[in-house]
């Protein structure tokens, strides 16, 4: 993007207590106008609470929530420029599809016919053209979700809040809706804020992601940074799979950090690969499974090479997962290989040469 985006949501040191329970512990973050933003974390991390503070369903104990530059303190939910797609969809069962979609238009000054047009357009946008007269209870899960989307988007909110909207759908439907949501967001250009516990969903859909643990934001970054340069072991563990190995820091010049790990030997890392500040606790290096490759006969390593023994083989069809114990290391490394025609699947106990690159390593200290 070339245009500078303004801030749509701003959290300023937001705290939330439920009695003694500290649910949000000093949230500071900004969400830009027009971006697809995700709040990602395990259940109980406060991501839904944070979303609900934007909608106005939760009061905050201290701090401020700003929407489009306005402080939302004492602004009730019904006048905030946000709309929400609820986890349960909350489609009113006593109304038809079009009554549901038009629910928020009561005080809209437009004529009845114009409102009916708007409802029809909104239904068409979510792919439910002609469903208007149906009873809400006769819809499938995916259709309910579309109604919930249409009902929220018809009001042209500044921010659309999505509370785990895909968790009730089956895998196929979920993947289809992910793509549709991305397209829809590009089409309407509204800021979308998605709450999810599914890291894959967050990576696929978001421009930026805030990873939350225990009421705090552990890392806020774009999906690639989050995946390649996780800020902590916890984030790395939550997003995808990562191999961890104890390592020793030999020297730290500021420009490069010399590290030694059993099995891999010495390597020098640049500062952007080093996470956290120096601590007395031992350092750990992390490697994603796909950054390790098995070198088959005749293949040469592009960077560095180590030897190991295959301990476990898990065949997934398109992929094979191996656990390989490096010579000199104590625990096996998980690595994944794409199954391409002509490439054999190794057996347990086989010796393997592994190619790797220090550039793919992350150091947590």
């Amino acid at each position: 993007m070339t245009t500078e985006k303004s801030n749509m949501i701003e959290f300023r040191d937001v705290h939330k207590y439920y009695g003694d329970y500290h649910a949000l512990r000093g949230i500071n973050a900004t969400i830009r106008a027009g971006e697809f933003f995700s709040l990602l974390g395990p259940s109980g991390c406060g991501k839904t609470t944070l979303l609900r503070t934007i909608a106005g369903f939760e009061d905050i104990s201290s701090g401020a929530v700003m929407i489009d530059g306005k402080n939302m303190a004492n602004v009730p939910a019904n006048v905030r420029p946000t709309n929400m797609v609820f986890q349960s969809y909350a489609i009113f069962p006593h109304l038809t599809v079009e009554e549901n979609v038009g629910f928020g238009l009561r005080r809209d000054p437009r004529s009845k016919e114009e409102k009916a047009m708007a409802v029809a357009e909104a239904l068409e946008m979510v792919g439910l053209k002609g469903y208007g007269k149906r009873a809400a209870h006769a819809l499938s899960g995916g259709q309910r979700q579309r109604v919930a989307l249409a009902r929220a988007l018809i009001l042209k909110p500044k921010v659309l809040l999505l509370d785990e909207p895909l968790s009730a759908l089956d895998k196929k439907m979920r993947e289809q809706m992910q793509v549709e949501l991305i397209k829809l967001q590009r089409q309407v250009g509204i800021t979308f804020i998605l709450v999810t516990h599914d890291q894959e969903e967050a990576l696929v859909m978001s421009d930026r992601i805030a990873v939350m643990f225990e009421g705090q934001i552990a890392q806020l970054a774009d999906p690639e940074t989050l995946y390649r340069r996780p800020a902590s072991r916890k984030v790395a563990d939550f997003i995808g799979t990562m191999n961890f190995l104890p390592a020793q820091i030999l020297s730290d010049s500021g420009a490069t950090v010399e590290v030694e790990a059993a099995g891999f030997g010495r390597m020098s890392l640049s500062p952007d690969q080093v996470m956290g500040s120096p601590s007395a606790e031992g350092a750990t290096i992390g490697l994603r499974p796909e950054t390790l490759t098995i070198l088959f006969e005749g293949q040469a390593a592009t960077d560095r090479e180590v030897l190991g023994t295959v301990e476990e083989v898990v065949y997934y069809g398109d992929m094979t997962y191996y656990d390989v114990k490096l010579d000199g290391a104590s625990s096996p490394m998980r690595l994944s290989m794409r199954n391409v025609p002509g490439r054999p699947v190794l057996d347990r106990g086989a010796k393997a040469r592994l190619g790797w690159s220090p550039g793919a390593v992350v150091l947590f200290r």
Partner: protein, 296 residues
């Protein structure tokens, strides 16, 4: 008998099992409900004279009831009283049910329901008597007001009046109205209320557009539960109304027992039942309309 043969299969089937299980209450219901009802229908088509019931069937009794001034007036009074009682009861019960459902902590709800039902541990007759003690000519209210000098002689408006009858009956049926409304409010997914506000409606407007329509099945159930028994109430008009404001049940009692005219009494009873049935059907149809939209 061979296991494959039809009677053997029937004996072991689920249907046979079900019939067996349901037969004691079914026999009980037939003997004690259906049989007397059929007897009443037959009575109402006969003529009762000093000699005994006639054997020929006739609609004379019904004609007498439907054109009789007294019967018409009493039927209308019964309908009015029970309609008023129903209205008062449901209007008062709804806020109570709403409060318990929405503002009482979940762990305290069962205690609240328990407290609400406590008055119903006392017999209906005794509760009506107590209202007589409170509202009567020399009752608590009148003597209290007289002793502090607000009034000089007992108020007659609070005793032997339709108002006091309605008050007594509304109190008697309060719990029966609170419980079904409470249940229907409990069933409402709270995210509907948030959705209503999220879509720009105030809390009050959300109540009107979401909560109230979704709780209608409970309201209609409450209406039926209160309306059906109050229309045939006998005790309250006798004790609170002082016998001066009889309802249809008192009329039936008078004809059946005092005048010993079983045929005419049965015809009045059947007529009353028919009217109650018609009103109930209207409400059941209404209920179905509300329920249709809500089954998942």
């Amino acid at each position: 008998m061979e296991p494959g043969s039809t009677p053997g299969r029937f004996r072991n089937s689920e249907a046979a099992n079900g019939l067996f299980m349901v037969s004691p209450p079914a026999i009980y219901a037939v003997l004690l409900l259906a049989a007397p009802l059929i007897a009443m229908v037959l009575y109402s088509l006969m003529v009762d004279s000093k000699v005994g019931l006639s054997s020929g069937l006739t609609f004379d009794n019904y004609l007498k009831v439907w054109t009789g001034r007294i019967d018409q007036a009493l039927m209308i009074r019964s309908l009015t009283v029970s309609a008023m009682v129903t209205l008062v009861t449901v209007l008062l019960a709804y806020p109570v049910a709403y409060f318990v459902s929405f503002h009482v902590k979940p762990e305290k709800k069962s205690m609240w329901l328990f407290l609400i039902t406590i008055p119903f541990w006392t017999s209906y007759l005794i509760r009506v008597f107590l209202w007589k003690v409170i509202l009567g000519y020399n009752g608590v209210i009148n003597s209290g007001l007289m002793s502090i000098g607000i009034i000089d002689e007992p108020l007659t408006i609070i005793n032997y009046s339709l108002g006091s009858m309605i008050m007594t009956l509304a109190h008697a049926y309060a719990a029966f109205a609170i419980l079904p409304i409470f249940v229907s409010l409990e069933k409402i997914d709270r995210s509907f209320l948030e959705a209503g506000q999220d879509l720009g409606e105030s809390k009050f407007r959300t109540f009107i557009r979401v909560t109230l329509p979704l709780s209608m099945p409970g309201v209609i159930a409450a209406v039926l539960i209160v309306f059906i028994p109050t229309i045939g109430d006998y005790v309250t008009p006798e004790l609170i109304g002082g016998g001066k404001l009889p309802m249809i049940a008192n009329r039936i009692e008078a004809i059946m027992l005092k005048q010993n005219d079983k045929a005419l009494g049965s015809a009045i009873a059947m007529t009353a039942m028919l009217i109650v049935a018609l009103v109930s059907i209207v409400f059941i149809l209404l209920n179905r309309r509300f329920l249709r939209g809500q089954s998942k």
